[in-house]
């Protein structure tokens, strides 16, 4: 009896490992195989070095630039949140955080609605100055890519560095003062070195996200900008040059694993740590005039930069623009979501996309949640858990485009997937979500004193019963947080989905991408409306996450 239970326990524990072996290791292995298979022929291709070098160089260049700019924007904001109390602070913090969990397509749509050719700013300028064409031509430029990356990743920097800064003891700085250090000397010799670790890990994370950025480059950068990710996508879907795509993927993986290894090595926090609500001497109300001006300037910046795009998206989804340039309030874009006026085969029904996205997201949440519980609980009890934990988190360092390519190479030929191609999407989404779920659950499991389990065991509970009666009730909030993350990640997933989706099974992100690339006011409006729905879902999820996290902290 006892033995069979134990066997069952081990059997269950093996499920996440088997899942990763089949759906992660296998596709990656096939990419390697493809890359090396075609390597001989590729070597003879003229300009191979250029074909690899150009996207690699541009990827590094834009990622480097984005990181520098993100640090420049993030530093003052981290300072603001870790030093000042002010009214509405929570709202402003949420505003800076929201972009991080927004799907790339929504960010692209939001920026488009604000500064794109049919965006508010251009509409206003055309209207006021009676211009023939939109004066701001920022779409398809490096600037808009950088802008989107800053918009996206500032929150990582602010959260990681801001949290460290707020928790930094004030005594070292005071000691430096009594030893004669002025304000800049204190910053340079004391604060900065003490924040170094968190700044570095924030920079690495931001770099990783910028390096693997796909949707932003594809949708905002346009055809003239190609990063490794975009190049892999284009080589696969348009050039049908799978060996080259494979080789690019191998290069990409090498670099991202290298970066992720550094991040995992010294980060003790989860993916997104929420700013702690700490009251110490550092936290003050803005007192001097200088501080007040700084506060107002920064808050205005946060509003313009982090809030306005979302607002603009929201309002733009209710506006129809006639051919003569006059505005009209309309609910049409939302009504249109529900019927296929075009009746054409290539037309994507927004309602179908919504339905598909929700279905995929729910399945993903379920699988990732179950696998996550088993994996996190198993890690807690496993020997060499550090190595295992790093292995389980590896998919985090794999770009979604690479995952998509791997899936495309590995599975669609199998008859099951030929019959039901849509199954692959939640399976891929689970790979994206699983590391995040594990990273949320593992610390929660680990924070339960081992004595509690021992006591329950001593009272006669089997390992399964202990999990059921002791652990799960105690980690309830973390489980909800993990589930919500899985839900949002699946809803917004674009990279892997764009490889695997078929026209007849659109998701919201792929639908938005299609609408934005098609001409016409209705398409544009529907992109806005669909994005708006996605935005709302994500915002609600984030608010819930924040609530559950707070609850967890309190208990």
């Amino acid at each position: 009896m006892r033995n069979t239970r134990r066997k069952l326990f081990y059997f269950l524990g093996a499920i996440p490992i088997v899942y990763l072996l089949i759906f992660y290791t296998l596709p990656l292995g096939i990419i390697f195989e493809k890359a090396f298979e075609g390597f001989q022929t590729l070597l003879q291709t003229s300009g191979l070095l250029q074909k690899l070098g150009r996207p690699l160089a541009f990827t590094l260049y834009q990622a480097g630039l984005s990181v520098i700019l993100t640090v420049l924007v993030g530093f003052p904001i981290a300072y603001l949140f870790s030093h000042f109390h002010f009214k509405g602070k929570k709202l402003f913090q949420a505003a800076v955080t929201l972009p991080f969990i927004l799907p790339t397509v929504v960010v692209a749509a939001a920026l488009n609605s604000l500064i794109g050719p049919s965006g508010w700013l251009n509409l206003a300028l055309i209207h006021i100055f009676d211009l023939a064409s939109p004066p701001i031509q920022i779409m398809n430029s490096l600037e808009i890519i950088l802008l989107a990356h800053i918009f996206y990743n500032t929150s990582i920097f602010v959260r990681v560095v801001g949290a460290a800064w707020a928790q930094l003891e004030t005594e070292q700085e005071q000691a430096a003062r009594t030893l004669g250090a002025g304000v800049w000397q204190r910053f340079w010799f004391i604060t900065l070195p003490l924040l170094k670790q968190s700044i570095l890990s924030a920079i690495l994370m931001v770099f990783l996200f910028d390096f693997t950025s796909f949707g932003v480059i594809l949708m905002l950068g346009g055809p003239s900008f190609s990063t490794l990710e975009v190049e892999i996508y284009l080589q696969t879907t348009q050039m049908l040059n799978l060996p080259l795509a494979g080789l690019l993927s191998v290069i990409q993986m090498g670099i991202t694993f290298f970066i992720s290894w550094f991040i995992l090595r010294d980060s003790h926090t989860g993916i997104v740590t929420f700013l702690p609500d700490i009251k110490n001497e550092r936290m003050q109300k803005a007192a001097s005039g200088k501080q007040k001006i700084l506060l107002i300037l920064l808050l205005t910046f946060i509003f313009l930069f982090f809030v306005l795009p979302e607002l603009s998206l929201f309002f733009r989804s209710f506006i129809f623009i006639e051919t003569d340039g006059t505005f009209k309030f309309t609910l049409d874009f939302y009504k249109e979501l529900f019927h296929n006026v075009h009746g054409s085969l290539f037309y994507i029904s927004p309602f179908t996309a919504l339905k598909n996205s929700l279905t995929y997201a729910l399945i993903t949440t379920l699988i990732a949640g179950l696998l996550g519980i088993i994996a996190a609980y198993g890690l807690l009890n496993a020997r060499k858990s550090k190595v295992l934990r790093a292995l389980v988190l590896l998919p985090l360092g794999t770009s979604s485009v690479t995952l998509g390519l791997g899936f495309l190479l590995a599975f669609p030929r199998l008859s099951l997937f030929q019959k039901y191609p849509q199954i692959l999407i939640p399976i891929a989404h689970t790979l994206v979500a699983l590391p995040v779920v594990i990273n949320t659950l593992y610390p929660a499991f680990a924070s339960i004193p081992a004595n509690l389990r021992a006591a329950a065991g001593n009272l006669g509970a089997s390992p399964m019963k202990v999990l059921q009666k002791i652990d799960l009730p105690l980690i309830r909030n973390s489980l909800l947080v993990g589930a919500l993350y899985a839900f949002i990640l699946s809803l917004g997933e674009f990279g892997a989905t764009s490889f695997l989706t078929r026209p007849e099974y659109p998701t919201m992100p792929t639908a938005i991408y299609r609408y934005l690339s098609l001409p016409g006011s209705l398409n544009y409006g529907q992109a806005m409306a669909t994005s708006c729905i996605l935005l709302t879902l994500c915002t609600f999820s984030m608010l819930l996450i924040e609530r559950f996290m707070l609850k967890d902290k309190r208990s």
């Binding site: 005594e171 070292q172 005071q174 009594t178 250090a181 070195p193 170094k196």
Partner: protein, 355 residues
């Protein structure tokens, strides 16, 4: 005495509408080690921070050699402050920590290095120069913190519970070292502690602080021999307290449940026959009485007799069930009846009845 170098004048500071410092004044002289002695929450650390400039007083002034320094920022005051938990810079070595002050003052490299060696020698830590501070033990950290504080040759040293984070054995040992170092330095020092023994060891002058006020100021002997109030006597650990009343004024005679006690005059009571007082008996070395009648005798039974290394600790129960403690020369049998002779020098008397 010489002219004061630091003058604190009527310092007030509120914290959340409660007075933390309520009009404190005192003078600090050259070469003096001035000890602020008080329980936690008495405002002593806040006073240090105000003098250092880390906090602003709501009212009052601080004069350094006659000049008001309220407007001078912390980093320009040249006052050394050693923090209670040391606040060593974790990202620097021992030598880099100590060099920090001189570096901020723009000393030459050679001068800094010389000074680091010098201060390491002063705190007897020569071999630790290149160690990371995180690797140090509590006692080692304490000495590095002291070295860092004195390295830039401050005009004034302030020590906030410098032995507070250490365990008992280390405290005794390092207290001695600290005392010797302070004697060698000849820099005026303000020393904050809640431990009277520590205060007695290091200080020339002690100010007993509570509720944001200085309750008594004097030499260690003055404070120990004549605590100015019952609260101070209790704070110093004089727990043998007996309610009584004035039976006779000249010479002073106090009646209590335990017996009558005559003592030299006390300035701490309003002399009125029949007035309620509290009698405090210091827990000094005691001897058994040879007489059975008369004043200044305590009769009781031995409740406990413990060996304390340098003597014994005797606890007796009096006939009205009070427990009194004394130092003793020998072990006594528990339950044995005993009569103790109380010399007038062991007695203190305060107005009012605390019970």
């Amino acid at each position: 005495m010489k002219k004061p170098c630091l003058s604190i004048r009527k310092i007030h500071k509120d914290y959340e509408k409660n007075p933390l410092l309520d009009g404190i004044s005192f003078d600090l002289h050259e070469d003096e080690t001035f000890c602020l002695l008080g329980p936690s929450g008495s405002g002593k650390s806040t006073l240090l921070r105000v003098i250092a400039g880390l906090e602003k007083a709501d009212a009052g002034s601080i004069l350094w050699r006659g000049k008001d320094i309220s407007g001078i920022p912390v980093e320009k005051r040249n006052f050394g402050l050693m923090f209670q938990d040391y606040a060593l810079f974790p990202h620097m070595t021992v030598a880099e920590n100590i060099a920090f002050g001189p570096r901020m003052r723009g000393w030459s490299k050679a001068a800094i290095q010389k000074r680091v060696e010098q201060t390491l020698q002063i705190v007897r830590m020569e071999k630790f120069s290149d160690r990371r501070v995180l690797e140090l033990s509590g006692g080692e950290k304490q000495r590095v913190a002291l070295a860092r504080t004195i390295a830039p040759e401050p005009d004034l040293i302030m020590l906030d519970e410098p032995l507070g984070a250490l365990d008992k054995t280390l405290r005794d040992e390092l207290g001695q070292v600290l005392h010797e170092i302070l004697n060698e330095l000849h820099i005026p020092t303000i020393y904050v502690t809640h431990d009277q023994e520590e205060a007695f060891t290091v200080a020339n002058t002690i100010a007993v602080l509570n509720f944001g006020n200085i309750l008594q100021m004097g030499t260690p002997e003055e404070i120990y021999n004549t605590p100015a109030s019952l609260w101070i006597a209790s704070f110093l650990g004089f727990s043998n307290q007996i309610p009584g009343s004035i039976k006779q004024i000249d010479p002073l005679l106090i009646a209590s449940d335990v017996g009558d006690f005559s003592l030299s005059e006390s300035e701490h009571i309003s002399m009125k026959k029949g007035g309620d007082v509290t009698l405090v008996i210091k827990p000094d070395m005691i001897r058994a009485a040879s007489r059975k009648n008369g004043s200044n005798l305590i009769q009781g039974t031995v409740k406990d007799s413990q060996f304390r290394g340098d003597g014994y600790r005797l606890s007796i129960s009096t006939k009205n069930d009070a427990t009194l403690h004394f130092r003793d020369t020998m072990r006594r049998e528990i339950g044995q009846p005993i009569t103790l002779e109380i010399s007038p020098a062991m007695l203190l008397v305060y107005s009012g009845n605390h019970a």
